[in-house]
Symmetry: none
Amino acid sequence: MFILLVEDDEVIADAICTYLAHQGLAVEHVMSLEAATTYIESSHFDLCILDLNLPDGNGIDWLCSLRSKRFSLPVLILTASDTIDDKITGLKKGADDYLVKPFDLRELQARLLSLKRRSSDRLSNTIHHGMLQYDLEQHKALLNGVLISLSRNEDLLLQTFLNNPQRVLTQNQLKNVLYGVCDDVASNALNVHIFNLRKKLGTQAIETIRGLGFRLGKIETKPS
Amino acid sequence: MFILLVEDDEVIADAICTYLAHQGLAVEHVMSLEAATTYIESSHFDLCILDLNLPDGNGIDWLCSLRSKRFSLPVLILTASDTIDDKITGLKKGADDYLVKPFDLRELQARLLSLKRRSSDRLSNTIHHGMLQYDLEQHKALLNGVLISLSRNEDLLLQTFLNNPQRVLTQNQLKNVLYGVCDDVASNALNVHIFNLRKKLGTQAIETIRGLGFRLGKIETKPS
DNA sequence: ATTTCATCTTAATATTGGCTTAATTAAGTC
DNA sequence: GACTTAATTAAGCCAATATTAAGATGAAAT
């Protein structure tokens, strides 16, 4: 596994490099954002460890521009400050995890590994389920290669189902997805949406578990 | 992501619900441990936010019983007291993180996300009993590899039996599982459900201890 | 502003499946 | 044998969900 470490503090960087190398990971160490950019654009890395305080700029901004250039590699942020704002901003701006200095090297390793695991799952932006192909970025659903047009709520529901295959989702859970906090409204709008989804994806696409909720089912060639 | 919020203070609960829902998380709010138990046992949640001071009991005790019932969902404890002892006890008893009131909603969110991350590595919780494989999350029962469809009440009963193997459960206890605590008992509905369960799982699946109640028995290849 | 169009919600009705009831049979207990 | 408890059936009921269609909303286009 190839890791890019962006860190200007030599002591910390050395510690990380030594430890990770010892664990069988290939670490490339750079000390500025400029160098980081060069490396990222000219070579392949599985992960990036990013310190936020760097001589030639702010790590968050760099991360933003990285994302805007469609680099999707997982980034773990190192931050000295324990302020909430930093964490929040970091996570929202496209970081995948963060670690507050000082930290335990073993924890760093654990997080890197879990990061890798997670990211290798969602490398592709499309989810496949039976004959359905769903593009998370473009919100496009292809059934048997044919584009299915979905309304906003249908889209939300389908996403939720695809993100929780095998799982029984209660009506309240699904209502929360659509309407935010559930005022526990007695409305069957949800049922109508499910009905419409079934018309588009086939009757078996959504199973009902009476008294419990709904679950994603089989999506096959033909809406019957 | 589905979150169960157990909190009896409406003001705090509302704030949390509104904020988290706004962040795209599905929050289910209950105000008592009893309700929490019902929800946990009948639906899926990724996380639980647990206040410790509740009208119908102590949160720590509830957490203990939850763990003893093999529910492994990550729990974040909310505590008013800032005493170290409380935190320690909480963490030792199976909590995964804690937050002291008053807290910043953004910090709550950050902690929830990291909690989810850490826990996503865990194994799925399935109970094995003889030839039966029961998945608590999916509410799926496989007998000899074949899916058995269970009604809501059958599902509840089976769960209860699997969570209390070896133990004799009185009819009243089982009725409480289905109908909550109430002592009107002139109905044999429970017997009918047990009869139907036996039809699906085999005659020996549930033993009758005459005059006392029922106990989980052997579940073998074929319903005879 | 007004029209147009799609979607969302409401509401009314149909349907289904599971729950309970109740009556009967079987199995223990004294 | 009389009594108690549990098992077994089948019928009716009811709540959860499905289905429709009509009205409400809201955004884009003219």
